[in-house]
């Protein structure tokens, strides 16, 4: 569905400075895949998308989208793809229904067919009540659903979503995703979807494949689970009296599956200092019982155990040494709240802030 070879894009800013926004991206996306492109702002996600949607020509490299080269046959590519950009697709003073009818006509439907298609989409995206209203009067969530409807008018086999849920509250994000996933499977052949996002949980929950982009290059490309297992691993945190920390760390080092061990000093709610031994391991839930038995055998009293499954942020941290979240906060251009943004040494706090909108399947807490 998408095949790119060493795709690059340079922007000449001035005579002396050129921004290399995309530095050689080679990708293959098969029909029916749901791919999230993840990376901090400025990583080249949107620029890549703009090349794949024929908006801007690549500086070098080639890209085939829906079977056609984006430079040689942009007309063919445009006819095949749907695109939901970062900005709103509906004109402020246009009526919701009119925008969908116009879009249908643009893709070659006659007026009657365009009206009936508009009706279907209004229904499918829960906008029937708003059909006769001006776009400017819609709420944020309604506007975004209209954008998606506009992108789906011609039943594209490939849909690009550029930060589809940025600026929406959690309820509206979940609602938008319900609609997107339903429209995806409603098609005769499942629609291929490529989305960019800087919401980690969004990529984690919905994408079947995650492509991590940084500095204009692909730095990882796999399922979210595989990325987390390979690049981050689970985080087991054992709390222990400071005097026992070093001994416990040594026990942990010898445990099977351990990748790295770190000791932090934290203060408990009672005010007493306590050491937290943080263990990156291949299998946290499976390895922890053995770890505890080994600690017992060595006479070390573990007071508390946390097992955290890794997040995609841990993956990004493992790959680049930077937190995606911190990067995103610094670079956020329009001042939208990048949720979280706090990094502390306490595993508990990190897990809760990062996964605030998620259900609790990623974190298991065991009290010893």
């Amino acid at each position: 569905m998408i095949r790119t070879q060493a795709l690059t894009k340079d922007f000449v800013v001035s005579r002396t400075s050129t921004v290399h926004a995309v530095r050689g991206i080679s990708l293959d996306v098969e029909p029916g895949e749901l791919v999230a492109v993840l990376g901090p702002n400025g990583a080249g996600k949107t620029t890549t998308l703009r090349m794949l949607t024929t908006l801007i020509p690549p500086t070098s490299g080639t890209a085939q989208v829906a079977g056609y080269d984006v430079v040689d046959r942009p007309d063919r590519v445009r006819a095949a793809i749907g695109y939901v950009g970062q900005g709103g697709a509906g004109g402020a003073s246009q009526l919701v229904r009119d925008e969908l009818v116009t879009q249908g006509e643009i893709y070659g439907l006659d007026r009657r067919a365009a009206r009936s298609r508009a009706g279907e989409l209004l229904e499918a995206l829960d906008l029937t009540e708003q059909a006769g209203r001006k776009v400017e009067s819609l709420s944020g969530g309604q506007k975004r659903r209209l954008d998606v409807a506009v992108g789906l008018v011609h039943e594209p086999s490939l849909l690009f979503l550029d930060e589809p849920s940025t600026g929406l509250d959690p309820h509206n994000r979940a609602n938008l995703w319900d609609h997107i996933l339903r429209m995806r499977t409603a098609a005769a052949e499942p629609m291929t979807i490529v989305l960019t996002t800087h919401y980690l949980d969004e990529a984690d929950t919905f994408a079947e494949r995650v492509i991590v982009v940084d500095h204009g290059q692909v730095i990882a490309d796999d399922t979210a689970d595989a990325l987390k297992a390979e690049l981050a691993g689970d985080l087991v945190t054992l709390r222990v009296a400071p005097a026992h920390a070093t001994a416990l760390a040594a026990v942990a080092e010898r445990a099977p599956g351990t990748r790295s061990v770190r000791v932090e000093t934290v203060t408990e709610s009672s005010g007493a200092p306590v050491s937290a031994v943080e263990i990156r391991t291949a299998d946290g839930p499976g390895g922890t019982p053995g770890l505890l038995r080994a600690a017992d055998a060595a006479g070390l009293t573990v007071s508390r155990v946390d097992v955290a499954r890794p997040t995609l942020d841990d993956v990004f941290l493992g790959l680049t040494g930077r937190s995606l979240r911190e990067t995103a906060v610094v670079d956020t251009p329009r001042g939208e709240p990048a949720e979280g943004g706090i990094s502390t040494s306490s595993t508990d706090e990190r897990a809760t802030t990062e996964r605030a909108t998620d259900n609790d399947t990623t974190k298991k807490e065991v009290l010893a």
């Binding site: 569905m1 029909p31 703009r50 949607t53 024929t54 908006l55 801007i56 829906a66 079977g67 056609y68 046959r73 942009p74 007309d75 063919r76 445009r78 006819a79 095949a80 793809i81 695109y83 950009g85 970062q86 900005g87 709103g88 697709a89 509906g90 004109g91 402020a92 003073s93 246009q94 009526l95 009119d98 116009t102 879009q103 006509e105 643009i106 893709y107 070659g108 954008d147 506009v150 086999s157 490939l158």
Partner: protein
């Protein structure tokens, strides 16, 4: 302008299954109509919006017309309204269409323009359809101004009025296109739009002899005004309102209006085709 977007494409021998649907026939005329209809929908739904464009011409007619009659009435040769109303119509056209690029600015800053660029819609049609839309408010507003002035003693040649409205519509296509081209050219510094628009607008207006006769001005002003297309359109309107339909002034008015339209469309289409990066 890409020929491929204007003509139906032949299906490649080995079209991949993923995009096996035949491309719909694309015609430039159909694409232009789609854009035109989309641009007109809000105007038709809310015709009252045209009234705001009438405030300025009516202010000039009400507050400047009497001064003109008093001070320059003698030199204008008879009926002041036949001299001033066509000029006010040209002014309405100039002001109304030169700001239209700001509508495109809204679409540039939202995702509307980008959405259109990702569709197979012909890019030249995206400019031409918008430019043609400019004719509707011009003709509607001008007709209202003429009707309003009838009770105040305006007695124009009816055919001359119709011809002048058509000529202004053609001029408006050109000025509107240039305004869109400007919006596209300065899309990375939006505020520049108003700087350029205002900087150009007033010299063009004053050098057209719209408000006061250029004949009484210095020679250099008359020389500069001779390259101002608006001046010919204003002169043409005055001749046509007075019933002098076969005059050279009317012919020159058409030359100037058509030349402006052609120039505007060429510049505008080029700007539109390059508007993605």
């Amino acid at each position: 302008m890409s020929a491929a977007t204007l003509h139906p494409s032949s299906t490649p021998a080995a079209a991949p299954a993923s995009s096996g649907r035949p491309l719909p026939r694309r015609s430039f005329v159909r694409d232009t109509r789609i854009v035109l209809v989309r641009e007109l929908q809000p105007v038709v739904r809310d015709p009252f919006s045209l009234v705001f464009g009438l405030v300025q011409p009516l202010v000039f007619l009400g507050l400047f017309g009497p001064l003109l009659a008093g001070s320059a009435g003698g030199t204008l040769g008879g009926d002041v309204w036949l001299w001033f109303v066509p000029a006010v119509l040209a002014m309405t056209t100039l002001f109304g269409t030169s700001v239209t690029g700001s509508n495109l600015q809204l679409d540039l800053s939202s995702g509307v323009h980008e959405r259109m660029l990702v569709t197979p819609l012909s890019r030249p049609a995206q400019l031409v359809g918008r430019a043609l839309k400019e004719m509707v408010p011009i003709v509607a507003q001008s007709a209202i101004v003429v009707l309003v002035m009838l009770p105040f003693g305006l007695r124009p040649d009816p055919i001359g009025v119709v011809l002048t409205l058509l000529q202004l519509a053609v001029l408006g296509i050109g000025v509107g296109s240039l305004s869109y081209a400007l919006a596209l050219a300065v899309r990375k510094q939006e505020w520049m739009f108003w700087v350029v628009q205002q900087t150009v607008l007033f010299p063009v207006m004053l050098l057209s002899g719209m408000l006061l006769p250029l004949e009484t001005g210095p020679a250099w002003m008359r020389a500069v005004s001779s390259v101002n297309p608006l001046r010919y359109v204003v002169d043409s309107g005055r001749a046509a309102f007075a019933g002098d339909l076969a005059s050279a002034a009317v012919a020159w008015g058409w030359v100037a209006a058509v030349a402006t339209a052609v120039l505007g469309l060429v510049v505008g289409v080029r700007a539109m085709v390059r508007s993605a990066d």
